[in-house]
């Protein structure tokens, strides 16, 4: 007999790995990627490709320079790249997309310690920085085959209700917006996949979307429209559920979702920007450590009969 391995229990592990989880997220994003090509044309693919490639490259490069272990195989950079691309207009100059990708990976993720350590969602933070830096190109909504150049939310906030697309077009994604956020159908498919695979739990998306819908109803806005426009669905399922930057506790997730929803409607209905999903998530990211502390389960210390 050779020398036996001795180790602390447990001696078996589940087959879940970081890479498998990230692969599931990539799979869940594919319907929306396909939809973006159908709706906005092949250039979507180019933008997604550039973001993903630059994200992977910057992760690899940063880790190389800092002599850290290479982690690109965990696929988290691919997810960040896809999500960032989905949050850009299809007409974005490619060098700007590349710049955003570098910001997401190097500044927001790696400088804070890499996967699991970043307090803010890399894709969202990069998007917000890009909106400030390239406000012109970041808000030019070009449709390759139509004249519509404003997002439904921008129309609503300007009071141009008559120019709004139909519910069906909203649901299928035929309206102005970032390339991956418009097709509600594709995003719901991806979200359902993540729920079934237990990559995410229902708490955050449900709390987030329900808050927006209920508040819209109370404030006299069309709830269905609010649900399907802007980045709500992609934000609720894919960005607000980011492990590193959101609470891990169940009640924490619910509070996080409600907070995101409230800030979103606040900005949408009364703020200067037509859309507020990104800001709401970033703000709640900052509150995450406090929410977690507040909602940490009380250990089962017992005492007496129940």
């Amino acid at each position: 007999m050779n020398k036996l391995i001795s180790s602390v229990s447990p001696h078996i592990n589940s087959n879940s790995t970081t890479q498998k989880i990230m692969l599931d997220v990539v799979i869940a994003l594919i319907p929306a990627a396909i939809a973006s090509v159908i709706i906005f044309g092949a250039r979507s693919l180019l933008v997604i490709g550039v973001c993903v490639a630059v994200c992977i490259l910057s992760e690899w490069g940063f880790e190389k320079i800092c002599k850290k272990e290479n982690t690109i195989s965990d696929l988290s950079a691919v997810v960040t790249g896809m999500l960032l691309a989905f949050n850009l207009p299809v007409s974005i100059p490619l060098w700007q997309a590349a710049f955003g990708s570098i910001v997401a990976i190097v500044v927001v993720k790696q400088l804070f310690g890499g996967i699991g350590q970043n307090f803010a969602n890399p894709a969202i933070t990069a998007r917000i920085i890009m909106m400030t830096a390239f406000s012109g190109t970041m808000t030019s909504w070009v449709f390759p085959d139509a004249s519509s150049s404003a997002t439904p939310l921008a129309l609503i906030s300007k009071g141009q209700i008559s120019g709004l697309p139909s519910y069906l077009n909203m649901f299928l994604g035929y309206h102005g917006g970032c390339l991956g956020e418009t097709c509600t159908l594709a995003l719901l498919l991806g979200g359902a996949y993540l729920l079934v695979k237990r990559v995410i739990s229902w708490h955050t998306p449900t709390a987030f979307i329900a808050t927006v819908v209920i508040m819209s109803f109370i404030c006299g806005k069309d709830p269905l429209y609010q649900f399907m426009s802007g980045g709500l669905v992609i934000g609720a399922f894919f960005m607000a559920t980011d492990y590193s930057s959101s609470p891990a506790t169940k009640w924490g997730k619910i509070i996080f979702g409600i907070g995101c929803g409230l800030i979103t409607v606040l900005i949408r209905f009364w703020g200067n920007f037509p859309e507020g999903v990104s800001f709401s998530i970033l703000l709640m990211n900052i509150l995450t450590p406090y929410i977690e502390k507040m909602t940490r389960a009380k250990p089962l210390t017992g005492g007496g009969k129940v």
Binding site: L4, S9, P10, N13, I21, A248, A297, G304
Partner: protein, 440 residues
Amino acid sequence: MRLHGAKVPHKKNTAESKPVKIPVSKTVVIPMSMHIGKQARVTVKKGDNVKVGTLLGEQDGFISAPVHSSVSGTVAKIDEITMSSGMKVPAVVIETDGLQQKDDAVKPPEVKDFDSFINAVKNSGIVGLGGAGFPTFVKLNVKELEKIDAVIINGAECEPYITSDTRTMLDKTDYIFKAIDAVKKYMGVKRFIIGVENNKPQCVKKLSEYSKDDSLVEVRPLPAVYPQGGEKVLVYNTMKRIIPKGGLPLDVGVIVINVTTLAFIGEYLETGMPLVEKCVTVDGSAVKEPKNVIAPIGTPISDLLESAGGLKSEPYKIIYGGPMMGISVPSGEAPVLKMTNAVIAMDKKEAVPPKTTACINCGKCLNHCPFKLDPRAIARAYKTGSGEDLEKLCVDLCMECGCCSYVCPAKRPLVQTNKLAKSMLRNYINKKKAEEEENE
């Protein structure tokens, strides 16, 4: 409320395998400490002839247990061996003669009241066979018997692979109920719950047949969610009572006893043969023919593996007990102990631990912990060395069940960290106490 846990694979490959006696090994090594508490004091010397059931070591101190010979033969030497806990203990090494003659002193005990019952349990050498090895007579020696609302019989057997309790429930049902009768008679207990995971319907069926005319005994099928057989988990799931931190089941009016321990008591009352052999499940990816065997205590586990048709590939890891909480042994010479219920030999693929990656903060660990601990936060507090935080996070509550490590996608060694964090917390508390005393 339901306690969390993990869905681990069952792998009950040997549930149908009736245990077979294996040939007696040439040499057996019987350690004097196979229980929690003070080790037994050796009562034999080199050259002594011993028989099956001969006392080798007597109980020493209040929490301790006697040790008996499992074979007939000659004492070759009194050796010192290192247990897998790292503790060095004396062990009696016996050259066997293969005759397996019974010691004349072995005869059914005379039991007529509570004290003689406890005495019989003590002399039988029985300890908690569920894994902990706590001397059973100490557990049963309750001063205020009226405090006991129920005895919970643990037949959950929630660890993957192991089926030795399954076999007890199927093959020794008579003895289980004989022991229940004794506990009723001498301890006045009025309620018994036998908890069995519902992945063992054959056990539930057989036990229910025996208990159907007995209103005091209830067979309770439980969901097959690991760690259903953890003492605190079982007490909560059957009685909805939470054992306080640092407390015992008796604090909430229950006694938990492993089903094989109980069956042994029933058998001992009838035969008087002390605990000298064990039914052991031999399984794992390196084992050719997984099966249940009956082996004398002290048999080297390599002989056990041999008896299970040998190995089909080089073992890389061998563990006592199940893969979730079992202890890895340094070599195949390690002997079968009183509480050994399984020996699992793993091939390279199963044995080599997966690569650890960075924590992704997914929260799986805290959402699967039965006690609602936060292993992720504990690991952070341990890293910063904060005893204060560890105290708040109640790491001392951790039963090391392994759910957190099992579910972690990053394969973090969370149980290992918890063990280290526990000792860090102990040091912190001791230091705090010492400082307080100084200030007084």
